[in-house]
Amino acid sequence: MAHDPAHTEHAAADGHAGGEDQHHPGWSTYWKVAVILTVITIWEVWAYYIPSLVASRIFVPMLLILSGLKFVIVVMFYMHLKYDHKLFRALFTGPLLIAALTGIALLFLFGQLVARFGPG
């Protein structure tokens, strides 16, 4: 009697390590990521204790970029997004974008972010 004809061709990815990956990063990639994360964190904390740097206009953008980098490498490598099916990338970046835009809008609306147009 009828068994689903597509049943066997489209078996879900179990019994097969991360079936949909094209590539498995190895221990060395994981280790390198850990080192980069540590280095960046040390850099950030080091910068925190340099008063002239903290007072400068570059401090906040630098921190945002550095933490953004940490964010991205954890997501790409530890969470495997670089190697996985594109669907997961879409499922994550859509909401992330909406979250980021909403957060930025709120900061503008409450005056914590100000855009200056023109001189001054």
Partner: protein, 216 residues
Amino acid sequence: MSAPAAHHYTTTGLDSRKIAIWAFIGSECMLFISLISTYLIYKGRSIVGPFPHEEWTSPDGRHFEPILDILVTSASTFVLLMSSLAMVLALSAVQNKNLPKRTRGERILGSSKLWLWMTALLGATFLGFQAYEFTSFVHEGLTLSTNLFGSSFFTLTGFHGAHVTAGVIWLVSLLAIDYRRGLGPADALNVDIAALYWHFVDVVWIVIFTVVYLIQ
């Protein structure tokens, strides 16, 4: 989670649970951005101290130092980052359970129990740091109700801590299964889902550490 899913037709060839966890993570982005935005909205607007980065003298003459301790929190941040490394190794160990291990190093890398323990312990250590921080803040005069900073800080980091706690419980549950019947490639997806959750919680902390602790 229960025994590995039986074979079922899927449109994408991907496991439904993995799709669901990524959707969940997307949703959590909105949760945490609301908490973080509120923290930032109220930054610098507390009428009374203690404050995160500045000292303050109360009207009745008590003096308060800036209450955040960057060095201690850097240590806890490092601990949490390393827990992600441990998690990734735990997943790898589960996936490669049946591969032969020739060297001692390979055997160590290949022990799922070891790395699940490491992740859980590092996570618990992070929670320990948080508990220490919370209690010392309360001791120093900052509570949920003291000012806007107290309310938004404890709520934001408290929610994060609750997520870490749930993660630790999840990991311990996986360990229990590992001890009972062993975790092998058939369980890789279950461990992968726990790992994705764990890394996400770590990633949220990266944002919190920068935005709350480092930026003044």
